[in-house]
């Protein structure tokens, strides 16, 4: 190691002398974490030189959160960093109050909330003033990585304050000279301010190289619903968007807990579903949607009426039900087979009787295979989809992909329809001759086909063109109808057969129903479908004869 030390010295006096040692040393340091590397720079001059030069490619120090917010009980604007944790779901106010030492102050602007606008504007002309002492700290941020950056807009009462804090944020980012990976925006409560704050988002996102956007939007629902694209029209669109409706515990008055809770909760959930709808319609490249819903109330509050609570839950179920249905439909129609989610995960953090709800979900979409359900505290419910229709759909997509360019080029609708009918449909309806076509299956076939048709015509979901219109434009054969026709045709073939052989492929039974469900209440159906097929004959007299003989 002494040798290395000498070599480092040599390296910096005569550049590019020996890079083998440098390579090795760099590789060693890359195994360390941020804090250890900073320690290493104290070892000797050559180490310090080395680390200073290569700091840009070395591992970063991990800091949990950077928060711009109002200091509790004062009118100071504070920028804080949290080294370890940033409380996400507990009352932040009290957290700041009780454990301020967990966080470190970076910048503090005194009496920010009391200062009249004019005075601040004076300051603004000479750009934002950050005390010199803090510059060192802020520039040290460039060797750090944050899990979250939080802009807390909740306390701002005036537009210029929002403006100012966004500028401050920009300044911070400029000084630390690094794009930020995660951002989380906490918005305030008054509506016009919110609208203003969202108009500033593009400005904020200039500083952000986000692959993750967390957003708490209790009040911003309307603006997002009216324009869901605002989430995507930022310079570096995030791949992960998390929207959350957070109820504030402060709102629950103990005199009327139920009314308030109901409004907060269900209002929130319905809004989420609304937004979710919009997101689906906007058809952006979002591969994973998740709904997280945490109803919160003080658990030691014994006043909660159990019967009432159950009523709430059932309402809640309905919402979730529609939500799940929408998720399923959305994936069926918008995503291609490769992107189909292997699981739909519903996290219900609160204990309760969810069996009924789950059962309903299974009843509705029988092709969901129920796997790994923890009945108590129904946490992390997973649904694994298993159905042969998926295979058929992916096969259809494959053949469609091969044909896609041609289909787009061909202008004559008849030729196009012929091409589609003769290549994609057979793949989609392969084996449909011997399989039961349930209504849900038919729906699936149709949605798949419609997605293809939309691709051919270049119509997006957001354009809101009716399916009927699309169908008339493309003149493709309806997949569900085609499946039914195939079945009839096949039956005809069998019936016309003169030799006494059965069909080469025996109908394998009904749609695949998972064994879990069979145990419950599908026993009759099971027997019916698995009964062996008896070959009786091809013409009526023959059938009579055969059955008598048998």
């Amino acid at each position: 190691m002494k040798e290395l030390d000498q070599h480092c010295n040599l390296f910096f006096s005569i550049p590019a002398l020996n890079d083998v040692q440098i390579d090795i040393f760099r590789d060693i340091l890359k195994f360390l974490d941020g804090p250890s590397i900073e320690n290493c720079s104290l070892v000797s001059r050559s180490w310090e030189n080395f680390i200073r030069i290569y700091r840009k490619i070395m591992p970063l120090r991990k800091i949990y959160a950077l928060v711009i917010h109002q200091e509790y009980d004062t009118d100071n604007l504070v920028v804080r960093i949290f080294h370890k944790t940033y409380p996400r779901n507990i009352k932040r106010k009290s957290y700041f109050y009780y454990s301020t030492d967990a966080a470190e102050e970076l910048v503090k602007i005194h009496n920010f909330y009391k200062t009249p606008e004019k005075k601040m504007k004076m300051n603004k002309k000479s750009s934002i003033h950050i005390p010199e002492d803090n510059h060192v700290k802020i520039s040290a941020l460039k060797n750090c990585i944050f899990d979250q950056i939080v802009l807390d807009f909740s306390k701002f009462s005036q537009i210029w304050q929002v403006n100012y804090s966004v500028d401050l944020f920009g300044k911070l980012v400029e000084i630390c000279g690094q794009k930020i990976k995660t951002i989380r925006l906490d918005d305030g409560k008054s509506d016009n301010l919110i609208a203003y704050a969202s108009s500033l988002y593009p400005k904020i996102f200039n500083y952000v190289d986000a692959d993750r956007l967390d957003k708490n939007m209790l009040k911003e629902v309307n603006s997002i619903v009216s324009n869901p694209n605002c989430l995507f029209t930022i310079p570096n669109p995030p791949t992960h968007i998390e929207l959350s409706c957070e109820e504030h515990v402060d709102y629950i008055f103990f005199n009327h807990p139920f009314e308030i809770m109901e409004i907060n909760r269900f209002g929130g959930l319905i809004d989420l579903i609304k937004i979710f709808d919009c997101l689906i319609q906007s058809q952006s490249d979002v591969s994973r949607y998740s709904l997280q819903f945490t109803p919160r109330y003080t658990s030691d509050d014994t006043d909660i009426d159990i019967s009432h609570f159950h009523l709430d839950q059932s309402l809640f179920h309905q919402d979730l039900d529609t939500f799940c249905e929408k998720v399923l439909l959305a994936f069926e129609s918008t995503s291609e087979p490769g992107n189909l989610p292997p699981q739909i995960k519903i996290n219900i953090s609160d204990g309760g009787n969810y069996d009924q709800f789950l059962q309903r979900l299974f009843d509705r979409s029988g092709n969901l295979d129920k796997k790994r359900i923890k009945h108590k505290n129904a946490k992390g419910v997973k649904f694994q989809r298993s159905d042969q229709i998926i295979g058929r759909r992916s096969a259809a997509w494959l053949s469609f992909k091969n044909l896609q360019d041609v289909l787009k080029e061909v202008q004559d609708p008849k030729t196009r329809a012929h091409l589609f009918n003769s290549t994609v449909l057979p793949a989609l309806n392969y084996g449909s001759e011997t399989l039961t076509l349930r209504n849900s299956d038919a729906k699936k076939l149709q949605t798949t086909q419609r997605a293809m048709e939309r691709k051919v015509l270049g119509v997006r979901l957001i354009d809101k063109v009716k399916s009927d219109e699309i169908r008339t434009q493309t003149m493709f054969k309806d997949a569900a109808q085609d499946a039914r026709k195939r079945k009839l045709r096949w039956a005809g073939h069998i019936a016309r057969r003169q030799d006494n052989t059965g069909p080469r492929e025996q109908p394998s039974g009904g749609p695949t129903i998972s064994s879990d469900l069979l145990d419950d209440h599908h026993t009759d159906g099971d027997e019916k479908w698995n009964k062996p097929l008896v070959q009786t004959g091809t013409t009526l007299p023959e059938i009579e004869k055969n059955t008598e003989g048998g």
Binding site: L32, G34, E38, E48
Partner: protein
Amino acid sequence: MATESANGVSSPELNERDVVITTNDNRNFTVKIGVARVSKTINNMIQDLGESLDLSSGIPLPNVDGPIFEKVLEWCEEHKNAPEIKVEQDPHTRERKWFTMTEWEEEYFRKFLSHLWDLAMAANYLEIPSLYYYTCQKLAERIKGRTPEQIREMFGIEDDLTEEEKAEIRRTNVWCTY
């Protein structure tokens, strides 16, 4: 032609043949080609030489000395059929993910703890990724969590930083704890 010779070289019988490798202190090692191949440098040499390879004359290694090469060979014996390792790093913090070592490897490094740096040099020259990165990780393991004084003591480095310089480094790395 070139591909043919390469194919000829990679045949399993050849892996069983011996090759003589000469280190810079003129020590000769007779090694099976299959073992020597763990090193990409030697492998390239063998492939480039192709048909004209004269196994008896030996391959010279000017940058490696005997005692270290002995240790490297031990590693090669153990890893002659091992798959290539993947170096991954945390996308956010850029920290390398640590490899999990087998018991044999732990024992190996425990045996040669004082030669880690030489091993890394040799592995770098001979291009043995598994040995190289594992050694780096071992060295990092020794550095991690120690104070600068301990590191200095361990590697015998002189403290040539003045107190002012140290204070400056601590000031720029605000959250540096030592």
